[in-house]
Amino acid sequence: MSRKYVISVMSKDRPGIIADITTVIYDLGGDLADLNQSILGGYFTMILMAEFDGPVTRKILLTRFSEIQSETPVAALIKEVKEVMYGSHGRLPDDTFVVTAQADNRKGLVKTLGDFFYSRNINVLDLVTAIDKNCYTMIFQVDLSQVDSMKSLRSELTSLGEREEMELVLQHNDIYMATNEVGTALETIIGD
């Protein structure tokens, strides 16, 4: 019987880190379903889903990851799941929007927006941040399918922006697709 895992690994970035991690999966007979990786401040992190035919346990995986030679040990979190999802970052929900927020850098900016979304049952699908001089930029990709009134949400965002001295913009994800993805037909973007 096969076993399926969600695996999260983190280490200081260096050439070959992806090769080392995927070699562990391959050597244990694992089939890589999907993965996402990112580098932040010189640290590499990856989340992946894999399926193993043999009796590969969580303990075996942890041991093999710990044996990878690196400046900092490879830290891994492993959770067994019932099924793996292939291509999970495929089509986004129809009500996917992007909220951009810019403010003078200070503590608690991401939390403020995180709380705002959570209190309105808004799921954050993706988040990137950037800092330029003292300007902190946050870009949240959010699913607004649980939001009843766009007018109210826009008004609440405006109030939040004024209160927190943030420049907040809410735009439908389709706008970014339309303006930046030359090869994608508009009918595809709006789902005709």
Binding site: D126, V128, V169, D174, I175, T179
Partner: protein, 459 residues
């Protein structure tokens, strides 16, 4: 995956450069509305417009709120009224005009276009009655716009119609003298009038069109002006050439067009109406920062009308088309930069300084869309001179296989240099001087037709 640079560039365009969709215009076929009586025809016309456009404005607004991009104008165009009212008398056409005006009000749109006749080759009895009705029809309505096509590259110019229209414009201005001849601002004369133009006053639902379509006019010149300013500030004038500027205009137009078409297609989808075309025209408004003239100033002429203005407009018009045509698979309408004097604060200012004359404006219209638009002239200019100005503009369109138009407003009781103000989107401007008045009467008196140009031997 989110690309922060792309997203912030789009945010910049939408929020800081004030991207909007200038107009979404619903075209409705009224050819099947002609019934035995005028009264019944009018009833059927109103019923049909209400049936298709009943929730048009509401749905446009919904999509605008969802996408965070304002749709500035929601309008309706209809089948040319002279065809809908075949056999009507002049008085009957006035009744049809009032009916169309009422239908526009019920649908919640500010303007309805299509009080129109197409007489580029010949004038029928109905066409004549229609033309006679124009002064009363436009004076007695508030939302109706009229147009007439008097020439085409294939049929030539109908100079009998041009002569009639000179007198009609004078009558129309006199009929609306209390408002500075405002009626004439709602009437435009065309050569090669397109049937899918979403912009007023010349929008119609051409007979070649489907039952109902949605056409979209994309954003105004302000987005391009602000984008150019930003690029020039960032890269410095020493590091930019005109081909770099053209490339920048192409790229911003591409993105603006994609946004406009996205909104239009979404409204089409919700309403279950066929999507027509994207019109790439740069349509200015009197609002500061929404001017084609400002782009000319940014690109190096201190006043619009100075030598170089025509070359800049040619560059601008071409770059807009190139970016827009790549972005959209359904381009149509007028698709060029407009130079409507009263609706563009920088152009109006240039008129006040004496930098922009009718002759220079005519030169600009050789390389852009759409013609002598929203041009206020002294009220005492004679009808033959008005007809002759129109003939000149029509000839440019006929020979160059492009749309040209004339929207001349003789302002009753006012002289060149005095200011006329219509307010709102119609704007204000000093009245332009018309030189050589009363010198074209013998030409206009000929009547007949200017034959269509040869369409081969193009060397």
């Amino acid at each position: 995956m989110l690309r922060s640079d792309q997203i912030m560039a789009t945010v910049e365009m939408v929020q800081k450069e004030n991207l909007d969709v200038r107009t979404v215009t619903m075209g409705i076929n009224l050819l099947d509305c002609r019934y035995g009586s005028v009264k019944k025809t009018c009833e059927i016309v109103e019923e049909k417009i209400a049936r298709f456009a009943g929730d048009f404005v509401e749905k446009c607004d919904e999509v605008a709120v969802k996408y965070g991009i304002p749709v500035i104008n929601k309008r309706i165009s209809v089948t040319p009224a002279a065809l809908v009212g075949a056999g009507f008398s002049s008085d009957d056409f006035v009744k049809l005009a009032i009916s169309l005006d009422r239908a526009a009000a019920q649908a919640g749109v500010d303007i309805l276009g299509g009080f129109t006749a197409q007489v580029e080759k010949g004038i029928t009895v109905t066409d004549r009655a229609f033309i006679e009705s124009i002064p009363k029809a436009l004076a007695g309505t508030s939302r109706l716009c009229a147009s007439i096509n008097v020439g085409s590259s294939h049929k030539g110019i109908n100079m009998d119609a041009v002569a009639m229209i000179g007198r009609t414009i004078k009558d129309l201005a006199e009929e609306t003298a209390d408002s500075g001849g405002f009626g004439a601002a709602k009437f435009v004369v065309f050569c090669n009038q397109p049937g899918d133009n979403p912009f007023m006053a010349g929008a119609i639902h051409g007979i070649e069109e489907a039952e109902v379509v949605l056409n979209v006019g994309v954003s105004g010149p302000g987005v391009i002006a602000r984008s150019l300013k930003k690029t020039i500030a960032k890269r410095g004038t020493d590091n930019l050439k005109l081909d770099d500027i053209a490339e920048e205009i192409k790229q911003i137009t591409f993105r603006v067009t994609r946004c406009g078409e996205l909104i239009g297609r979404q409204v089409s989808k919700i309403l279950g109406v066929e999507f027509g075309v994207v019109d790439l025209s740069l349509a200015p408004t009197p609002k500061i920062g929404d001017s084609v003239g400002e782009i000319l100033q940014i690109l190096g002429v201190d006043d619009v009308g100075a030598p170089g203005s025509t070359a800049i407009v040619a560059l601008l018009n071409d770059a807009v088309k190139k970016g827009g045509i790549f972005a959209s698979k359904a381009v149509g309408g007028l698709s060029g930069a407009f130079v409507p004097v009263m609706e563009d604060a920088v152009l109006a200012e240039a008129v006040g300084k004496g930098a922009l004359t009718i002759e220079k404006l005519e030169a600009l219209t050789c390389v852009c869309s759409v013609g002598l638009d929203m041009v206020p002239i002294p009220g005492d200019v004679d009808a033959a001179t008005i007809s002759a100005i129109i003939a000149d503009e029509m000839a440019i369109g006929m020979i160059n296989n492009k749309t040209t138009a004339a929207r001349l407003i003789p302002v009753p009781g006012k002289k060149a240099g005095e200011v006329v103000n219509f307010g709102g989107l119609f704007g204000k401007s000093p009245i332009m001087e018309v030189r050589n008045v009363n010198k074209s009467g013998r030409f206009i008196a000929w009547g007949g037709r200017i034959p269509a140009p040869i369409h081969s031997f193009k060397n």
